[in-house]
Each structure stands twice: as structure tokens, then as C-alpha cells.
């Protein structure tokens, strides 16, 4: 614990606190968690990255259907491999923390749901989203007919400008009216130990 604190540095820590919705303890815990995920040779790099596989195998993300998307959205890697630096990791935690605002949560939720990264949720994205939500097994999957119906219903509700896709502002409009989005879109996973 002491080593992590000294590794981070006081100024950096306070800056991280300023920039995220996390408290000091949470940042320290996150750092500890993060360093645990690093392999030995990575630790010497100036900005070490945790590969996506490592992040995905964290117990908190293991059963999340959006885990790959989450990694991709928060990764700053140039290779698009979903690897995370510590700062990316903090971004991730901050967005999912209890006190993050609706605005930031909905922004990241939108980017997570936007599977092809084109800035809108089209029917392809929505289909993938439904498949993620209903799981991998066949008995929980929807039939193509149901899927079509569902997607057209969703578009009818939330696609205000009728361009066949849901864009960010439409998405935020829908989300902001929802009573339980903020409470569900959180996960402080540096808190959970195995």
C-alpha cells in the first residue's frame, strides 16, 4: 500500500482527484489493482498498458456482456487493441463511479453501445446490443422476427429526427428521463476483491 502511494506522488494524486469522481482511497486502490494486472516487463515502461485480455479477466468484468466494448471505448491505444493505461483505467472507474454525473455516464454508455464507432446507433448496433443483453445461449436469444419488431419499436420511440439511427443527443434525451439509469450504470470495481 505504502509503495503505491509513493509511486503515484502527491501532486498527481490530487490532480487525479480533481479530474475524476473518485476519492483518494479509490484511486490508490485502483492503482494497486492496476499494478497487479501488469506483467513484470511492462512495469518498467513509462506508460505501462494492461492488455485487454487481462482487463477482461477481472472478476468484475468477467460476466459483463459489454466488457470488450468498455475496453475499446476507454482505451487510448493507437493499435486499437483495447489495452488500458492507468489513466484510461481511472477514466473507466470515474465514469462508472457512484458520483459521476448523468451527462458523463450517458456519453460513455452511448459510446459503449455504438459498436461500429460511427457516432450513431443504427439498427446493426441495436441488434448487437440486444444480443449482448440476451446472452449467448440459444434459448434466451430472440427470434429474427422479434428482433426486427423490437428494433423498430426502439427506433420509433427514441429516433426523434427519423433518420433511422439514434444519435447522441437523442440517446441522452431518452436516458435522462429514465429513473434508473444512473443507479444501474455504476460499478466501483476497485472496491471488490476476490
Amino acid at each position: 500500500m505504502g509503495t503505491t502511494a509513493s509511486q503515484l506522488g502527491k501532486d498527481l494524486l490530487s490532480e487525479y482527484q480533481e479530474l475524476t469522481f473518485l476519492t483518494k482511497q479509490e484511486i490508490l486502490l485502483a492503482h494497486k489493482r492496476f499494478s497487479e494486472c501488469l506483467s513484470k516487463e511492462d512495469k518498467n515502461l513509462p506508460t505501462p498498458r494492461v492488455p485487454m485480455e487481462k482487463v477482461l479477466s477481472l472478476p468484475e468484468l468477467k460476466s459483463n456482456p459489454f466488457r470488450k466494448r468498455i475496453c475499446h471505448v476507454f482505451s487510448t491505444s493507437d493499435m486499437k487493441d483495447g489495452s488500458l493505461t492507468f489513466e484510461d483505467f481511472l477514466d473507466l472507474l470515474s465514469a462508472f463511479s457512484d458520483s459521476a454525473t448523468l451527462e458523463i455516464k450517458s456519453h460513455y454508455a452511448f459510446r459503449i453501445f455504438d459498436f461500429d464507432d460511427d457516432g450513431t446507433l443504427d439498427s446493426g448496433d441495436l441488434e448487437k446490443l440486444v444480443n449482448c443483453l440476451t446472452g449467448e445461449t440459444d434459448d434466451t436469444r430472440l427470434t429474427p422476427e422479434e428482433m426486427r419488431q423490437l428494433i423498430s419499436n426502439i427506433l420509433e420511440e427514441s429516433d426523434i429526427d427519423k433518420d433511422g439511427t439514434v444519435n447522441l443527443s437523442e440517446f441522452q434525451h431518452v436516458i435522462s428521463r429514465s429513473p434508473d439509469f444512473v443507479s444501474s450504470f455504476k460499478r466501483l470495481f476497485c472496491e471488490v476483491y476476490k
Binding site: 440486444v130 426523434i160 427519423k162 443507479s183 444501474s184
Partner: protein
């Protein structure tokens, strides 16, 4: 000469000095003013350039606004200021440079400054020497301005003077140097700087709300902070400066403290990690129980503090010790068994005559050296317990309602919400996740089916019938259990007169109540299966039903208790006489034996005095017993029902003929409703019993503490996630509502006893008074000044109380009607918003179509020779779709006339020779001049176009 005196007085005040100059040379100022505008523009441009290039538009706007304001400031202050145009441009830079100079220290700069002063003019353009450079510039300006004017020589002298002084200053010490620099800042500049600093601070504060990358935020934050750090100290002037710097420093400290405090607070929240762990395994609904438990613990800690701090501990420290008076002594008849385990477990013997119960407290008005008014404090704490609980419950409810604020009830976005918000990101357990997948799929399918066939008549009838049937059965159950308890209570009253009772007969009432509490909830759950509600709604029904059951039990118990209390009160009258008689007899005997009337007899041994029944202690004991038995039953249920079951299922599974884990009996689910209700009723018991048994609060705190660890362990070790995982976002207030109801219901009997029943004559803090609240009257009479007493007397007058009550009723009525009006307005607004949204939709479709077509044309026309244009059928299809109205690809939303025109365009384009060649040519030529107008003319009806042109004309 103002100029001269100025110069002589202070060089730092360049601005004022220049004022004199300005009055001398009017043309100079005008020139300056003229230059200022472009300078401001440049400044803006530079400011933008300074920022990271990839900044959001929003930010630029934010920055722009203050900048223009600053520009205005500049103009206003132009007379009182003398800053060159260039210096304005890069003022921040300069200031940075200046600050850097400051740090370097004056002495090191000495030589540098000398040389700089010689260079003079050149420095102007470099603009890197900070304030001093500016001052130099000032002088240059002055030179120019005064070139034709008078007093050239004087000016030069002044300059020399200045230089000398400056040298002195800079060599003297760093501080004065810095001072002069800062104070040379004039009002407007200061303001500008202040604004800039404020702005940066604001940016820092909202930085975390920006969905940027961390790296970018870090860089930007550093930049801002550097800026703020540098210039914050430089603000303020004269004597105010130090104060300002101090203020800034304190501000920083305060912010840091706040953050630390926040950190500290989060560390202080107990069991956060435990709850998160449970949350990740079982979803938020199970966790909501634990959060509720933690909340209860917090509230009970406060109650505990009140009771122990103000009643129990003063009594222990300052009150009479055990054995000094009859109420603090075990009677002689009970003494042999007073330490038996079974007696102590029944809270008799030493327990009964301890500080835990009402009877132990003495009715001395003040105790100890501090003259602590224990009886008054006792009553106040009793009332305060209820007051505090009510306040906390209501405040929490209001807070919860506020958080829930979103208008979740209008079913606009059912599908979208299901889609976007149904995943519980807290789930970190594979099994729970699987259950969640299944439940999401079901809910999708259900809603699709609902949408497809909105009503199934026969199904609804069947369902209604089933629901009615279920409710009927449950009411039967409730009635049955009520009768059973009534019967048992009657029987126990019969038993009360007999002594040859078996263990069962003694504990019949508690046993039956616990059994009912065990059997009925699962029964209700089974019956509720008939109703097929959504689990969240089903949970509420279940809670309500169990609540009714428990409430019935509790109130039956209370009535039985009241019967007992009344019996005891009757008994008391005779005992009172008997005890007085006994005392007299004792004294008579004493004088008879000693034959000496002068000697005062020693007081009777406290254990021999005949006691009254002390109904308050009896009530307290009942509640403590009930609470303890409740704890035992709960813990045993968990141990047997969950743990033993889990162990059996786990280990017998190896040698059993069917799969115990997958089929019957499998592992238990966590029973949210039962646990929550158990907690709520337990709390009700505490509220009711706390007045008669102050120790009960302590017992309850222990119970909640142990229960937190025990249940957390049990749920993680032995339970499986619910089959249908659901979120419990809104149940919290429901729990609170139950708690409030119970609080109110437990308030009633306590207040009734305090207000109407006479306290026992020989035990408790109120003994000897007609009513318990007489202690307040006594305090008013004896301790407060007389006029307050009369005031109170007036206040208690019905003539005042009735109007007060009336006023309150009126206030409630008024507030109620106001809130209704708000609700109405809210509904209206919602309707309006809906309408606006529809309108927006329509309008957007229209504009979209024009834009789209325009774009198409734009794309199309220049390349027409190369590429085949858009085929006309598409347009037709689009139009059709538009008329259909419900396609995802709605484009042109125009009237029939326009459609024809449009068709003309698109049709004419492929073969200009045959059709509408002239039109196309016109179009082509016009496109070069004004594409938009032509297209608009084509798309709009003539009237619309006229209106449009009019509008355009008026706009210009």
C-alpha cells in the same frame, strides 16, 4: 502641476500619472482608443491559439464571452490606464514573464534592468520583460504624445528620476519590486485578470465533467492551475492585496480540507466493501436490504447516544447506588433466585432492578453535583427519540423522492429504457448474469407480445379471477392468524392465575407469534404466484401482506399488554395502602420494642419494603423479551433454513438419488421482503419499548451490528441469486414508508401511556406525580423565571391552542393546494413538451427534406454530365413513404405541388432535350448565383416562397 507631484509621489501609479498626460494631448488618447479595438481582437485570437487546438466549441464560446466583456472593460478604463496596444495583446504572457522575474529576485536582475532600460524601445516589441517593460512603453508613448506639446524637458527629467528610483527599488529588495509591479496594475486590468482567473478556476471545477481523455485533461488542468497559481497572488492592490492573498490561500486550504473531509467521510461509511461484494453477486435488490440495514444502524447509533448519554450514564455515575432504596434492590423473596441463569434470561432478578429498566430510576429532581435533572431528561429523551426518528425518516424519504425525480411513469420510452438501462452493471457473478440474461429476454419478449396483441380478453379475465382469489385466500389467512393470537392471549390470561404451568404454556404466546411469522410469509408467497405480477410489484404486495400480518400480531399483543397494565394499576392501589400500612406498622413495632419515642427508628431494609407491581418495568421487560426472542428466531432461521439446508444440499448430493442442487430443495434465495419487514418491526418494538427500557436501544445496536456481519456471511455462503433478478431502484422509499407507518403506530401507545396513565407510585423517575408530563410543569414552575411560567400558562390555554391548530390545518390545506397546482402545471408542461416534440419532429422532417434535396442537387448538378443522376422512382418512393408517415426513411415532407415540381426537376435532368430543358438551364445558371434561393423556390409553394423572401429581407 499634478504631473509633477504625481511623479514625485509614486512612480508605481503610472496610470494616474498618464491621466495628466492624456488631458494634455487629446489626439494621443483618441489614437490609442482607435487602436484598441483591433488589439482586443488580436488578443482574442491569440487567446484561442493558446488553448489546446482540439478544444470543444463550447469552450471557445465560454472563453469568448468574458473576453469581449474584458474588451468593454478596457474601453471603459482606457482613460485611467496606460497600456500600449502590443502590451495588451500579450498581457498574460508578459505577466507570466513578470512573475518569473519576481521569482528570480531583484538583485540578480539589477544589471539586466539597466541594460534593458537603455534599450527602451526595442523591448516594446519583444514584450518579455514584464511590467517594467510596460512602464517603459508608457514613457515611450508619452514621448510621442508630448513631442509636439510642452514640457518635453520636464518629461525627460521625470524619466531620469524614475530610472533612478527604479534602480533603487530593484536593488533594495525583491518585495518592494514585486509590490511596485503589482500595484502598477490598474483597476480594469485587475478586473480582467481576476475574471480570467475565476474562469480558469471554473474550468478546473467542471473539468471532470468532460468526457475527454485523461491525458488531455491532465495537460489542460496543469495549464490552468499554473495560470491560477501565478496570478491569483498578484490580484488585489494596496492594503487589500495581502488580504486577498490571504483569502485565496484560505480558500485553497478550505478546498483541500473539503476534499480530505470527503475522503474521510467515505472511509467512515462502514461496510461499503461488504455491501459492494453482495451487490456484485446478487444485484442491487439484495444490496438494498443491506443498505437499509446500515441506515438503521446509523439511526440507532444516534438514539443510543441520546439515551445512554443523557439518561443511563448520568444515572450510573451520579445516581444512588444499587441497594440504597427499595426500587434499586431485589426484594427479599426473590433474592435466592435472583442470580439464576433462567431468571436472568427472563430479565427478572438482578436484570429487572438494573439501569436497563424504567423502575430503577429515582424521582429525585436533581442528581449529583451537576444538579442534573434526570426525570426531565428522561422524559425529554423519550420524546426526542420519536422526534429525531420522525425527522430522519421523513428527510430520507424526501431525499429519495428527490433523487427519483425523473418522470418515469410516462410510458414513452418503454422499449428504449429496457434496451439501454436494463443491464445492471453491478453484477459481477456469472450465475447472476445468466439469470439476468434470462430475465431481460423474458421482459423483451413480454413487451413485444404486449405490443403485438394489446389485450387478451380471456386471459385478463382469468388473471383477474386469480388475483381476486389470491387476495381472498390471503385475507382468510390474516383473519385466521388474528383469531389465533386473540385466542392464545385469552388463554394466557387464564393461565396467568395458575402456577402449575408447563414450559409450553408459559411461552405459548411468543411461540405462536414466531410460528405465524415463520409460516405465513412463505404461504403468502405461494399464493402470490397465482397473481403473476412483475417481481418488483409482487415484492411490494408481499411486503404489504406480511406487514398486515405482523401489525395484527403486534397490536393484539399490545392490547393484551394494556389489559395487564390495567390489572396492575388496580392492584397497585391496594398495595400502596398495604405498603403505607406496613411502614407505619414497622415504626410502631420499633417504638414498641424500644419504648423510646425520641430515637428516630432506622429506615426499613430496602429489600423488605412492600413494592407495587411497577407496570412500566413489566412493559419494558415484555418488549425486551420480545426483541430477544425475535433475534433468536431470526438467527436460528438463518442457521437452519439457509445454512443447514445449504450444507445438506451440498454434501448429501454425492449420495442422493436425485440432484439436490438443481431440483428440490436446492439452495435458498435471500428473502428480501421478510428480512426488511423483520427489521422494520424490530425497530417498531424498539421505539415502543425504549421509553420503558432504556437498555433496549443498546441491545438493538448490538443486534444490528451482529446481524450485518452474520447476514452478509450467510447470504454470501448459503444463498443463490434470485431467479428473476430485478433492480430495486424504487423500493427504498417503500421501505421508508413502512418504517414511517410503524413509527407512527408505535408512537400512539407510548404517547397514550405518557399522557393518560398514572405512573407507579414507587418506581421510576416520575413516581409520586399524577401524570408523567407533570415533570415539565414542575420545571417551568421552579426553574424558569415566573413570567415564562405565566407565558406558558397562556400558551397552554385552549383559546390559543385551537387557533394554532386551525392555522396549521389551514397551512396544510394551502400547501396541499399549492402542490396540486404545481402538479397540474407540471402535467400541462408535459403535454406542451409532448406537443413541441411532435411539432419538432414534423418540422425537422420538412427541413431535413429541403436540406437533403438541396444537397442532392448540389452533388448532382455539377457532375451531371459524368454520372447518372438520382433515378426519379426514388423520389416517388420517398414521397409515398412520407405519406405513409411511418417509415424510417422519411425525406421530403412537402405538399403535392412541390412534389410535382421536384419531379420535374428530377425527371428533366436525365434528358434535358425532351423535357424541361429550359428549366434545367435556368437552374444551372441560377445555381452559380444563388443555389439556395432557386431550390427553395422550387420546393416551396409560391406563397411560402414569398413569405420566405420577405423574411429574408426583413432580416437584412
Amino acid at each position: 502641476m499634478p504631473r509633477k507631484s504625481d511623479v514625485a509621489a509614486k512612480i508605481e501609479d503610472v496610470g494616474i500619472e498618464i491621466d495628466g498626460d492624456v488631458s494634455d494631448s487629446e489626439d494621443d488618447t483618441s489614437r490609442r482608443r482607435g487602436n484598441r479595438r483591433p488589439a482586443a481582437g488580436r488578443g482574442g485570437a491569440r487567446g484561442r491559439g493558446k488553448k489546446p487546438a482540439d478544444e470543444d466549441d463550447e469552450d471557445e464560446e465560454e472563453e469568448e464571452a468574458p473576453r469581449t466583456r474584458r474588451g468593454a472593460n478596457k474601453k471603459k478604463a482606457s482613460k485611467s490606464r496606460d497600456i500600449d496596444d502590443e502590451s495588451e495583446d500579450d498581457a498574460p504572457k508578459r505577466r507570466r514573464g513578470g512573475a518569473a522575474n519576481k521569482k528570480k529576485g531583484g538583485k540578480a536582475q539589477d544589471s539586466e534592468e539597466d541594460s534593458e532600460e537603455e534599450k527602451g524601445n526595442k523591448r516594446n516589441k519583444k514584450g518579455a520583460a514584464g511590467k517594467k517593460g510596460k512602464e517603459e512603453e508608457t514613457k515611450d508613448n508619452k514621448k510621442k504624445g508630448d513631442a509636439k506639446g510642452k514640457g518635453k524637458g520636464k518629461e525627460k527629467e521625470d524619466e531620469k528620476d524614475k530610472k533612478k528610483k527604479k534602480k533603487k527599488e530593484s536593488s533594495s529588495d525583491t518585495d518592494s519590486n514585486a509590490d511596485s509591479e503589482e500595484e502598477s496594475m490598474s483597476e480594469g486590468e485587475m478586473e480582467r485578470l481576476k475574471e480570467e482567473v475565476e474562469e480558469k478556476k471554473k474550468v478546473i471545477a467542471i473539468m471532470r465533467n468532460k468526457p475527454w481523455r485523461m491525458k488531455r485533461r491532465l495537460v489542460y488542468l496543469k495549464e490552468c492551475q499554473e495560470f491560477v497559481d501565478k496570478f491569483e497572488g498578484a490580484l488585489g492592490k494596496g492594503k487589500g492585496r495581502k488580504f486577498y492573498a490571504y483569502k485565496v490561500m484560505m480558500m485553497k486550504k478550505w478546498i483541500k480540507f473539503q476534499r480530505d473531509f470527503e475522503n474521510f467521510k467515505t472511509t467512515c461509511i462502514p461496510w461499503e466493501r461488504k455491501i459492494k461484494e453482495v451487490e456484485s453477486h446478487f444485484g442491487s435488490s439484495v444490496a438494498s436490504y443491506f443498505i437499509f440495514l446500515r441506515w438503521m444502524y446509523g439511526m440507532n447509533m444516534v438514539l443510543f447516544g441520546l439515551t445512554f448519554g443523557l439518561v443511563v450514564i448520568p444515572e450510573v455515575l451520579m445516581g444512588l447506588p444499587y441497594g440504597s432504596i427499595p426500587r434499586k434492590t431485589v426484594p427479599r423473596a426473590e433474592q435466592p433466585t435472583a442470580q439464576d441463569y433462567s431468571v436472568l434470561m427472563d430479565f427478572n432478578g438482578y436484570c429487572k432492578y438494573s439501569v436497563l429498566f424504567y423502575g430503577y430510576y429515582n424521582n429525585q429532581r436533581t442528581i449529583g453535583l451537576l444538579k442534573f435533572r434526570l426525570p426531565l431528561s428522561y422524559l425529554m429523551v423519550g420524546v426526542g427519540t420519536f422526534g429525531y426518528s420522525l425527522m430522519v425518516v421523513i428527510r430520507t424519504m424526501a431525499k429519495n423522492a428527490d433523487v427519483g425525480g425523473g418522470d418515469g411513469d410516462d410510458g414513452e420510452f418503454t422499449f428504449a429504457w429496457k434496451m439501454f438501462t436494463s443491464w445492471d452493471y453491478l453484477i459481477g457473478n456469472a450465475e447472476t448474469a445468466d439469470n439476468k440474461y434470462a430475465s431481460i429476454t423474458t421482459s423483451f419478449k413480454e413487451s413485444i407480445v404486449d405490443e403485438q396483441e394489446n389485450q387478451k380478453d380471456e386471459n385478463i379475465h382469468l388473471r383477474r379471477f386469480l388475483r381476486v382469489l389470491a387476495n381472498f385466500m390471503i385475507i382468510c389467512c390474516l383473519g385466521g392468524s388474528g383469531y389465533l393470537i386473540f385466542f392464545v392471549v385469552k388463554r394466557s390470561q387464564e393461565f396467568a392465575n395458575r402456577n402449575d404451568l408447563s414450559w409450553y404454556e408459559k411461552n405459548e404466546l411468543e411461540l405462536i407469534m414466531s410460528l405465524l411469522g415463520l409460516v405465513c410469509p412463505p404461504l403468502f408467497e405461494t399464493i402470490a404466484e397465482l397473481e403473476e405480477y412483475h417481481p418488483r410489484i409482487a415484492l411490494k404486495w408481499q411486503l404489504g401482506r406480511i406487514f398486515a400480518l405482523f401489525l395484527g400480531n403486534l397490536y393484539t399483543f399490545l392490547f393484551a399488554l394494556f389489559d395487564e397494565v390495567n390489572n396492575k394499576l388496580d392492584e397497585e392501589v391496594s398495595i400502596r395502602n398495604a405498603s403505607i400500612w406496613a411502614l407505619k406498622e414497622y415504626y410502631a413495632n420499633f417504638t414498641l420494642h424500644n419504648n423510646d419515642t425520641d430515637v428516630t427508628p432506622p429506615p426499613m431494609d430496602p429489600s423488605d419494603v412492600i413494592r407495587g407491581p411497577c407496570w412500566e418495568t413489566a412493559v419494558g421487560i415484555e418488549f425486551v423479551k420480545l426483541t430477544v426472542s425475535d433475534i433468536q428466531v431470526t438467527y436460528l432461521t438463518i442457521l437452519i433454513g439457509d445454512f443447514a439446508r445449504a450444507v445438506i444440499v451440498r454434501f448429501l448430493n454425492y449420495c442422493w438419488c436425485w440432484d439436490l442442487e438443481a431440483t428440490y430443495p436446492s439452495y435458498g434465495e435471500f428473502d428480501i421482503s421478510g428480512n426488511v419487514l423483520g427489521l422494520v418491526f424490530n425497530q417498531g418494538m424498539i421505539w415502543m419499548g425504549a421509553f420503558y427500557a432504556p437498555g433496549l436501544v443498546g441491545i438493538n445496536v448490538l443486534r444490528l451490528l451482529s446481524s450485518m456481519y452474520y447476514q452478509c456471511w450467510a447470504v454470501m455462503a448459503t444463498n443463490v441469486p434470485h431467479e428473476r433478478v430485478f433492480k430495486a431502484s424504487k423500493s427504498n422509499n417503500f421501505y421508508m414508508g413502512l418504517l414511517l407507518l410503524i413509527l407512527f403506530l408505535s408512537l400512539l401507545p407510548v404517547v397514550y401511556t405518557i399522557m393518560t396513565l398514572p405512573p407507579s407510585f414507587d418506581c421510576g423517575p416520575f413516581s409520586g406525580k399524577a401524570k408523567m408530563f407533570d415533570v415539565i410543569m414542575e420545571t417551568i414552575d421552579l426553574d424558569l423565571p415566573a413570567f415564562l411560567g405565566t407565558l406558558m400558562g397562556y400558551a397552554a390555554n385552549p383559546g390559543l391552542i385551537i387557533p394554532a391548530v386551525l392555522l396549521m390545518v389551514l397551512a396544510i390545506y394551502y400547501l396541499n393546494s399549492v402542490s396540486e397546482a404545481y402538479q397540474h402545471a407540471n402535467a400541462e408542461l408535459k403535454k406542451k413538451m409532448q406537443m413541441a416534440r411532435d411539432e419538432e419532429k414534423n418540422r425537422r422532417n420538412n427541413t431535413e427534406s429541403t436540406d437533403q434535396v438541396m444537397k442532392d442537387l448540389e452533388d448532382l448538378l455539377p457532375n451531371r454530365s459524368l454520372l447518372p443522376p438520382a433515378p426519379p422512382p426514388e423520389t416517388g418512393a420517398d414521397n409515398k413513404a412520407d405519406q405513409g408517415g411511418k417509415s424510417t426513411k422519411v425525406r421530403p415532407g412537402t405538399a403535392g405541388k412541390d412534389v410535382n415540381l421536384q419531379k420535374d426537376v428530377s425527371l428533366s435532368s436525365p434528358n434535358p432535350n425532351t423535357r424541361g430543358a429550359a428549366l434545367t438551364d435556368d437552374l444551372k445558371s441560377a445555381l452559380r448565383s444563388d443555389l439556395k434561393d432557386v431550390v427553395l423556390a422550387l420546393l416551396m409553394t409560391p406563397d411560402q416562397f414569398d413569405a420566405h423572401q420577405l423574411r429574408q429581407a426583413t432580416k437584412v
